[in-house]
Symmetry: C2
Subunit: 479 residues, 2 copies
Amino acid sequence: MQNSALLMDFYALTMANSYFEQGRQDEIAYFDYFFRRVPDEGGYAVFAGLEQLLDYLENLQFSEQEIAFLQQKQIFSEGFLDYLRHFRFRGDLWAVKEGTAVFPAEPLVVIRAPIIDCTLIEAFLLLTLNHQTLIATKAARIVSVAQGRNVLEFGARRAHGVDAAHFGARAAYIAGVDGTSNVYSDFACGIPALGTMAHAYVQSFDNEYEAFLQYAKTYPDNTVLLVDTYDTLHQGIPNAIRVHREYLAPRGYKLKGIRIDSGDLAYLSIRAREMLDAAGLTETKITVSNSLDEYLIKDLLLQGAKIDSFGVGERLITAKSEPVFGGVYKIVALENAGQIIPKIKLSETLQKTTTPGFKNLWRLYDKNRKAIADVITLHDEIIDSTKPYMLFDPEYTWKTKWVTDFVAEQKLQQWISQGGKQQPIPTLEESRAHCRQELQSLWNEVRRLEKPHGYYVDLSQDLWTLKRHLIERHSGKKE
Amino acid sequence: MQNSALLMDFYALTMANSYFEQGRQDEIAYFDYFFRRVPDEGGYAVFAGLEQLLDYLENLQFSEQEIAFLQQKQIFSEGFLDYLRHFRFRGDLWAVKEGTAVFPAEPLVVIRAPIIDCTLIEAFLLLTLNHQTLIATKAARIVSVAQGRNVLEFGARRAHGVDAAHFGARAAYIAGVDGTSNVYSDFACGIPALGTMAHAYVQSFDNEYEAFLQYAKTYPDNTVLLVDTYDTLHQGIPNAIRVHREYLAPRGYKLKGIRIDSGDLAYLSIRAREMLDAAGLTETKITVSNSLDEYLIKDLLLQGAKIDSFGVGERLITAKSEPVFGGVYKIVALENAGQIIPKIKLSETLQKTTTPGFKNLWRLYDKNRKAIADVITLHDEIIDSTKPYMLFDPEYTWKTKWVTDFVAEQKLQQWISQGGKQQPIPTLEESRAHCRQELQSLWNEVRRLEKPHGYYVDLSQDLWTLKRHLIERHSGKKE
């Protein structure tokens, strides 16, 4: 389907119409996008989806057909419908770059816009960022355990629709996956598309040898054979070696690879390596696939599996272990006559209480470019790295730490100013390179799969004071 | 994104090019779409996504830009690229209707087409059917436990992209959900879109009462208020009642509903009902939301919660408990000079061994229109309901049962003949009505959430004989 302005929650329209009827269409609001916990109890997430959000905001407008549809609902005022007819996003947007390692509670996207603009864009903003950040985060975990071996995204057939297949491949590529099965993602974004044959190809011949031979004839310099249709060790690999010996080698070619898609991948890959090596095929690569994820890959490598590439399908493209990224979009301030009025939503726990105000996000690095901590500040605060800086836990404020000899970097950048793009969007390769640097800047203790070390995300003194002040003002107050 | 012909796995193209190079472009193949187990250990799945598949097949063609992209890969022959340039799907397609209750191992879609056509359409076929069938199946479970109460799909913000949001809403609607938050799904398909306000709306006012009052002024005949922004029982509900009393009632309106989005929904809904009833608001509806699924809804109702509508978000739109529907697409036959040559893929277990041949699917109903069993037959077999019919388990063949006094119905219908649509696609409302009938035809023992009774899916004598014959022929055979 094509993007439609109507891809939004109905309540966005009822709220927007109500704001309009109250004459609030020029009132400025501030909204933050953030999340509360990392999926799979991981130590970090990888932010992705910003390019699609920026494109959406640049192009968002309502067609006459869409306006007519809303009109026949008979609940929206003519004035509001006319407002929508001329609607363009007029706000400002700050966000971290795609590929950035991010942590709970941090403002990853900050929107300053008329409250109607803020309201209308919610569903698209959330679904795009939640989806791509989910898949990028999962992919980073999988790539991290593959220890430099190739990881290929093979999940299109189990993705939740065409978008999920393509943008999932995109997010996975940012996070370090090396290629995809999805040709469209190569066509549209230059993500290398890969693949050779399915079982059906082998079955469509009278026997496996004939199938392999015909494939080798079509692709002599790129012969990768799926060896598990009948019996991997007794038929598949011997037939592959025979095709190499009888057809490829005499013509100066080499068997490029084999793929194993079922069975005990640790055992089969070790035996396959022995058989290939014994036939002199020491450079023939072994790819495995079949419901892989970070846990299975880690386990295969611990068992000494001889694998060059992992094809990862459904468990990556759906983030099967935890298929929801719980990013939220919350109002944090309004403007009144140019004054910022911070807003808070209290909750039973401090973690679920929103942090009010127009904010910025800083990361402090040590001299080896390892990340020490993130600090959420008020928007115009500057962290001066020439002076020692005191970190403190926003919940247990007696936990303090002085940092010296650090570099402070602002993580939020402005991408849209009054509806117009402020700077070019990084290329996919740039986002991928950025992600690699970001992950390198994290300590292994933060990156590990099991019980990672909690990364510090603190509030500046000024922001903490503001938050405490608002909590005290609202607590127990009868509305 | 728009649908692209290149939304396919790269291996489809390498295989297709190889078939073409072998001169096999007119060779006819048969492929089945089926699945092996129901997600969440459920007793049945609900088939969905056919309309999108039929549209795709009708419109599938390669643009010059796409051909040029493939050309620069330098692995496809000019002849093949020219073939793609003129490619249109030329095959036949049989499928069960959307909304049909379906079971493991059944051919849900049968394709008869040139082997290249069969190969190129795999990824789109799988992702569309797997996604929508996944969500329809999950939605049917959720609707079944709501015992006639409204179930609303509220998940767009956590969907895996725009397609997942829209087609997920579509699939959920087929399976019995009553509405969606997603306006586009109303615009495009007529699924009723619903919603009122978010916490941000309430927070954007100085106090909750003012927010409620302004909302009531905009929508006096449709005032549904979100009552949990500050304190549901001590502020939210009293403020809602006050707006009714002070603003709505004097003008002849009634408070239509409240929504509770956090806290103990059982307790809060019971107290809310009491408070509303005590204020004379016995018709005011209570909607709840917040990470609901079939288990939580069942539990809420067991606790006596007073709820009229359930807003179900992330756990439905991602099928969180099991986000992968493992439908597969397997070759089952080739044609040679008009003769069908059945194909089998053996596996270690009989369940994973494919059933060969060009097939049909029948359902036997008793005289009360309760489904007794499904029988997979050869394509041209007829089950004659005037005679007793012997069912037998395809694995434990000594388990037999004679059925009499039944109605036999073919479940597969032909939708495409030689590339052209054969019959009109049912409307969404027709598919939804069909689903309702289908679910009514299942015994409660098959429909229950926990340890459902396994529904019988048997093979006809002829099909079983064919399968056994092929297993014997292939077993132990050196290829």
